[in-house]
């Protein structure tokens, strides 16, 4: 599963943020999601999706080896090892390592693909399996 984006298709609905938090934390809270939508208004009037590119920077910069790679090339913070230095948060080139008061350690995308499945605009897709959209005929969104 390799997350990729058709930025032009994004409508800014943020359902991806919602499903991510519900799937991974069982919390209805976009601030607990592992990707973010940014609006660029009034001009050019588009949305931008910030998402994990699996670059591994977070793991590289962690001073205490508290970030492990899960199977599939995604990363996870080990709660017992993390010292809260925030290097991963600061150094992530996409700005998609997040923190939240109610969650003990920083969190990042785990490649679950829930966002791919639910995006109504075909704005987020799986680059390893682009045909894995809800309905194949809707690849082109005007």
């Amino acid at each position: 599963m390799r997350l990729a984006v058709n930025q032009d298709n994004c409508s800014g609905c943020r359902t991806c943020e919602l499903v991510c938090a519900l799937e991974n934390f069982r919390e209805n809270n976009p601030k607990m999601s592992r990707l973010r939508i940014h609006g660029e208004f009034p001009a050019p009037g588009k949305y931008r999706v910030s998402h994990c590119t699996q670059c591994g920077t977070c793991q590289e910069v962690c001073p205490v080896d508290a970030i492990e790679e899960t199977g599939g090339g995604y990363y996870r913070v080990l709660e017992d090892e993390c010292i809260g230095c925030m290097a991963c948060v600061e150094e992530c080139p996409e700005g998609v390592v997040f923190t939240h008061d109610a969650i003990d350690v920083p969190f990042m995308c785990n490649g679950c693909g829930s966002c791919v499945e639910i995006c109504p605009r075909n704005a987020i897709y799986d680059a390893d399996d682009p045909g894995r959209t809800r309905y194949k005929e809707f690849e082109e969104v005007d």
Partner: protein, 613 residues
């Protein structure tokens, strides 16, 4: 407290800058659901009949619903409520975007704003941190620049709702803007904010919406999305959004044209949804959690001016397109942009402008009064009028009062050209030959608005002339459509792409823990309908049947041109339908709910206060 609700109501007193938090009453949730239901309940509680809309004692209630902010299609509709400067009665105005969900994440079901700030101010809600701040030179900014500034100052995560110069100057149909193109358009709630010296409300929240059954919501919510994707309407309706209905409304002859003089606009193909897609669209822009982004964010040029606008959607195409004889999508988008930025409702704004153009044409206004000659279809004249209205300058000061009051000032029979009911201008369905839609407009609680019951499709489906089933249909829609307003979500997934209604009681239970059947949800909606009726009885002197009226023009003139030429609904048919409507509702012949009806709905407290025995 039930899940789904944030559990708190925030009270702001602008007069001394203080605030207080109370618990959301469980009883209110059970009987009135939320959003519009809370707004109606709070207005009933708060306002004495002698309070005038621009008095400090008037309140503005912003309220989300129990399903707002939840993972289900289009869960982001907030309502604003107040005593309307247009009608003097109950007002609510509904808005999409993202501020509704953000209010839930900040931990509030509703915000009740009382009093008047000494100086122009804005409100910042940042989870538990509440501040009333001096607006300084933010006051005077138009809506686009104002939102840019606030997001730059506070952070892009903040959701901003604000008024423009029109609201600051108490234009009676001033709207509230948000998210660079969404509005709480109707009833002049922006003007009430202006009268309170309140420029904006900015919200950020980091909390979760509590759920009774998180696993259930994840599964059920996900299913509602996946089901939506399979519906034919999902692919067919979404590209043009509501603009897609423009051609059909013209083909059946119900398109407001030239101040509701006729019902078909010859250039409609130049201002329809396809014109948007072909010529100006930049982005399909959606509200919170929406599957079918109906916002058509566009870029266009008129003269030397390049602009961006979310729109135009159907209502603006109708009210500022055909109704103003603007014959290109670029011109309609331009009028849309000007109105949005100044903070003027495009529906009422369109109707006020068309009133002005027709008054000029008929010699009721002259060049000296207006400041220039007015010509139908002139986009420069439209721009001039909108600017004058926002500033209350010259003729703008009269037109800022809305068509009813402007007509009173202008005199000479101008009221004939004032297309309004209860003081609110009509929206975009010319209903002279649509009895179901006619009765819907006449009886809507906020004044002439189609949001309560969109009956035109039924009129056409079963026959324009027949009265059979029309009162029943209006009532049914007046319960179903505002139910979405009470739940705090958008009805378009059901209305436009046929997402089955069965989903809603199911997810409502998973979210709140409350097991309500569809009938019980509808009953809550009927309860709210009777409460807002009662509010109008309490606040509008002599309120009754004569307030459920239809503009004189509709009974005086047959449709003069187009596919519906020669047709109309005879007045006696309307009166008969209104009788039937009251009867079905359990109201008396004055259009007043009977004590029995009110008690049946659990509105005993209304019976006592209205002295109905």
């Amino acid at each position: 407290m039930l899940k789904g609700y944030a559990g708190k109501i925030l009270h702001i007193d602008l007069s001394d800058g203080t605030h207080e938090v109370t618990e959301t009453p469980r009883e209110w949730a059970e009987k009135f659901l939320g959003s519009r239901g809370f707004g109606a309940r709070i207005l009933w509680e708060e306002l004495e009949p002698d309070v005038q809309p621009f008095d400090a004692e008037n309140v503005v209630v912003m309220a989300a619903g129990p399903l707002s902010g939840v993972m289900l299609p289009s869960a982001g509709k907030i309502s604003f409520h107040t005593k309307s400067p247009a009608t003097g009665g109950y007002a609510d105005s509904n808005m999409g975007g993202h501020i509704c969900a953000e209010l839930k994440f900040a931990g509030y079901d509703a915000v009740v704003i009382r009093g008047r700030a000494e100086k122009p101010s804005y409100l910042v809600l940042d989870d538990d941190d509440i501040e009333v701040r001096a607006a300084g030179d933010l006051w005077g900014e138009k809506c686009i620049d104002g939102e840019v500034r606030l997001k730059e100052e506070l952070g892009e995560e903040f959701q901003v709702a604000l008024i423009g110069p029109a609201g600051e100057n108490r234009v009676r149909y001033a709207c509230i803007g948000h998210d660079f193109g969404r509005q709480a358009g109707r009833c002049g709630i922006g003007a009430v904010m202006g009268s309170k010296n309140l420029k904006a409300v900015a919200v950020r929240g980091t909390q979760s919406v509590p759920l009774a059954d998180p696993d259930g919501v994840l599964q059920k919510g996900r299913q509602m999305y996946l089901d939506s994707f399979q519906l034919p309407g999902f692919k067919e309706w979404t590209p043009q959004g509501t603009a897609g209905v423009t051609d059909w409304v013209n083909e059946i002859g119900a398109f407001p044209t030239k101040n509701f003089w006729t019902t078909h606009f010859e250039d409609h193909k130049n201002i329809n949804g396809q014109a948007i897609l072909d010529r100006i669209l930049v982005t399909h822009k959606g509200c919170f959690s929406c599957t079918i982004p109906c916002g058509k964010y566009s870029r266009a040029c008129v003269g030397d001016t390049e602009f961006y606008v979310e729109g135009p959607e159907y209502e603006t195409i109708a009210m500022m397109g055909g109704n103003l004889m603007l014959d290109s999508i670029e011109k309609v988008a331009y009028a849309n942009w000007l109105a949005d930025d100044l903070g003027i409702d495009t529906i009422s704004g369109g109707a006020v402008l068309s009133f002005a153009f027709e008054c000029f044409e008929k010699g009721l206004l002259d060049e000296e009064q207006v400041g220039r000659k007015l010509e139908w279809g002139s986009v420069d004249d439209v721009a001039f009028l909108l600017q004058s209205i926002a500033e209350r300058d010259g003729i703008g000061d009269i037109l800022a009062e809305g068509v009813r009051r402007a007509a009173e000032k202008i005199g000479g029979g101008a009221d004939y050209y004032a297309i309004e009911t209860k003081g609110l201008e009509w929206s975009g369905y010319e209903s002279r030959w649509a009895p179901g839609q006619l009765i819907s407009y006449a009886t809507a609680d906020v004044g002439a608005h189609h949001n309560r019951a969109w009956t035109i499709t039924y009129d056409v489906a079963v026959g324009r002339d027949t009265l059979d089933g029309k009162a029943e249909k209006a009532i049914e829609l007046q319960h179903v459509r505002p139910l979405f307003d009470a739940l705090g979500i958008c009805r378009l997934p059901w209305v436009e792409i046929d997402l089955p209604l069965e989903h809603y009681p199911e997810i409502f239970q998973m979210v709140t823990g409350l097991s309500y059947s569809w009938e019980e949800l509808i009953e809550a909606s009927e309860r709210i309908w009777n409460l807002t009726r009662a509010f109008n009885m309490k606040h509008i002197p002599g309120f009754g049947r004569e307030h459920d009226h239809v503009p004189e023009r509709f009974f005086a003139e047959e449709i003069p041109t187009g596919p519906a030429e020669g047709n109309m609904v005879p007045q006696e048919n309307f009166e008969e339908l209104l009788d039937r409507y009251y009867e079905l509702r359990g109201w008396d012949k004055h259009g007043h709910p009977t004590p029995e009806k009110l008690r049946e709905l659990g509105l005993d407290f209304v019976v006592g206060e209205l002295d109905l025995e």
